[in-house]
């Protein structure tokens, strides 16, 4: 299982999914009215490291963070 956490303004509780890659996650998010708007504009970290390759392989126990658009300062 892979743990998914939604950061900042995405008001969705953490979930656990049985997925192998980010494409699977994207398919899951597309089906949720509250999540699909974040797909195109969010960055993704796996175990706190930003991932830039869509075919990145996920392993059981990984923690995936969804990072929506930022504005510090």
């Amino acid at each position: 299982m892979v743990k998914i956490e939604f950061l900042g303004p995405i008001e969705i509780d953490d979930i656990e999914l049985d997925i192998d890659n980010l494409k699977d996650l994207s398919i899951y998010m597309k089906q949720d009215e509250n999540l699909k708007e974040w797909i195109d504009i969010s960055a993704v970290a796996v175990n706190d490291k930003i991932i830039t390759t869509p075919d990145y392989k996920l392993n059981s126990g990984d923690r995936v963070s969804i990072l929506p658009p930022v504005c510090g300062g």
Binding site: D48, P54, G72
Partner: protein
């Protein structure tokens, strides 16, 4: 890197950083202080921070700075910060001025674009995500199948 609940004590922080670098033969020290402006009828801004990635982001900048003989500092608020208070301070110390002038600009701009911090307007005690002023981070779009950096 320093995180504080609420508005920053600007003088305490900047004076301490200046004290910290003043024995190290740096010729230039630049501080950037961000203050919450009175606009759009807000009472305050509020900030969420994802600390693990903010920390690694900051450390990667510290390495860049060190390679130029420089040192960087940063403080940021968590939660509500009232109009007129400061939510963000950063600083660069370097032997010569050009490195400091260029680094503070690059650092502040990358901070705005990539530090994992989310901003909310606080209006009548309600927190509203400042979506239209926010920027997708480097790597955003990876869920749409875009290779990005």
């Amino acid at each position: 890197m320093e995180l504080y609940r609420g508005g920053l004590r600007v003088n305490d922080i900047t004076n301490r950083w200046y004290q910290d670098i003043s024995k190290s033969n740096y010729g230039a020290f630049i501080t950037f202080i961000g203050t919450i402006r009175d606009e759009d009828n807000i009472d305050a801004l509020s900030f969420d921070i994802y600390e693990p990635i903010l920390k690694s982001w900051f450390e990667s900048w510290q390495i860049i700075a060190n390679q130029k003989g420089a040192k960087i500092f940063m403080a940021h608020s968590i939660g509500d910060v009232k109009v007129g208070e400061s939510s963000y301070i950063s600083a660069v110390a370097s032997p010569k001025r050009r490195v400091a002038l260029e680094l503070i600009d690059e650092f502040v701009e990358d901070f705005k674009a990539n530090a994992p911090i989310w901003k909310y307007d606080v209006i009548a005690s309600k927190r509203v995500y400042a979506k239209d002023r926010s920027t997708p981070m480097n790597g955003a779009g990876v869920l749409s199948g875009e290779e990005n950096d």
